[in-house]
Amino acid sequence: MKVKTPSKLEKILAAGHYAVTSEVGPPRGSDPENITKKAEMIKDYVDAINVTDNQTSVTRMCSLAACIRLKLMGLEPVLQMVTRDRNRIALQSDILGAASYDIHNILCLSGDHQSFGDCAQGQNVHDLDSMQLIQTVRHMRDEGKFLGGGDISRPPEMFVGAAANPFADPFEIRVPRLAKKVAAGVEFIQTQCIYNMEKFELWLKMAGDRGLLDNVYILAGVTPFKSAGMARYMKNRVPGIEVPDELVKRMADTPKEKQSEEGINICIEQIEHLKGVEGVHGFHVMAIEWEEMVPGIVERSGLYPRPIVD
């Protein structure tokens, strides 16, 4: 695929390398060190760092400000943007704000419902949905125009991403839904955490059969288990995540003090396996509140050092 933006992530993918991304969640406060320390920990082991946008609807430092912090460190942020909290004026405005700092990656999401967070009595906006946000960024970038039709001086140059969950219900529209995102203009996908390899590969094959993978890069999401408890929780309590029984058993059969190590081992095995799967272009390593493990995972998966692109 032809490179369309100055995004380092896009260049790495276009050069045929496996891309590696990870993410940091901004703090419940204004201390910039919280974000810069986490970024410092992982920066040499990933190509780009996602910054979550008030994840699980809990109020935090804004994604854009945290992305600017990363940019000032010379890093490559992926601005996550949810449609829950902003109307089309604010979305476009924040996109321009990010573009003014040469933030070159955006991940378009709808966001968790506010009832999960600390402002359950608040309104949600959803003026646009995630597909329409993809269309909006592409319109601003490619046409150089606002949704209202006016010209943008110095349009944003953003590589446009979205999430996809191969395991969400109903399965039959998982590939049509990806097709819809591709039609909307998405250029890279970071998937939900994958544990059920068989189902993920089926989804990829179906997407490939439709020719979708010629138009979008897929970064497979992986999340190491910290404990057997976490594996059970992910299996039973988190909507849209499928954890096979044998993985829960493997964690449970491991002595407690060795479980976190085993979780990392599983994660590395998953990456190794996924490397052999056609249509996987990279990895999105989500080590939740466990960022310090990212370097080890990347290194032991044979993904270090990271490639250098112009």
Partner: protein, 222 residues
């Protein structure tokens, strides 16, 4: 219909505690069907209030009237000659009726006796559910007759979101995922291919966002 729910009596007492001649005014339309503000509920509320004030040792006159509707001038006019008997009205109509009463009887306080909830249906007796948010531009033709604006917690026009699990919404296992319903319906209509048509950005100016709305029909105006 417009679905409403009864306000707690404590809240109504708080509204009217300084009045002595009170009319409880029901409505024979939607709020009667949803059993929140019809003749029967007017009677029940009036009795409860009479008992309350009696126990408080207060002399309060409480009358009951139920109009055919509270959203049309002609029915509200039926009580004009009696309005000077009251120093307050508790309207058990929807918010529309409460406001139309207040517009018509400018110097009498009109208090709401119900919470107006949504536009919905009677699924079974005692269970009413939402179907429409009156966005002003109906898209049901392209969503298999199921409205994501009213029935998706995120009003997502290109759904479902990642929170749809086993056909239910992430916010409550009792709530159907609107997009699951849409997909099932499109399948039943043999139109699942339409799922892939991107729904464009919606013009919300016909919704609440555009300010108070009106429908003008010159062809029926006299």
């Amino acid at each position: 219909m417009i679905v409403a729910d009864k306000k707690p009596i404590e809240e109504i007492i708080e509204e009217i505690k300084n009045h002595e001649k009170i009319l409880i005014l029901g409505c024979n339309e939607c709020v009667t069907v949803c059993e929140a503000g019809g003749k029967k509920e007017v009677g029940v509320l009036a009795s409860a209030l009479r008992m309350y004030f009696l126990n408080q040792g207060k002399q309060v006159k409480i009358d009951e009237i139920t109009l055919e509707r509270q959203c049309d001038h002609e029915y509200l006019e039926e009580i004009r000659d009696r309005m000077d008997q009251y120093d307050a009205v508790v309207s058990l109509a929807c918010g529309v009726g409460v406001q139309f009463m207040a517009e018509k009887y400018h110097s009498t306080p009109i208090y709401p006796g119900v919470n107006t909830c949504f536009l919905g249906v009677t699924e079974e007796r005692g269970l009413w559910t939402e179907r429409c948010q009156a966005c002003g531009h109906c898209i049901l033709a392209s969503t298999g007759g199921i409205c994501p604006v009213a029935r998706c917690a995120k009003r997502i026009l290109n759904g479902p979101c990642g929170g749809s699990t086993k056909g239910k919404c992430e916010i409550d296992k009792e709530i159907d995922c609107a997009w699951q319903l849409i997909i099932d319906r499109l399948k039943a209509l043999d139109r699942l291919d339409e799922y892939e048509e991107l729904c464009p950005l919606k013009d919300w100016s016909t919704d609440r966002a555009g300010g108070p709305r009106k429908v003008v029909r010159e062809d029926v105006q006299q």
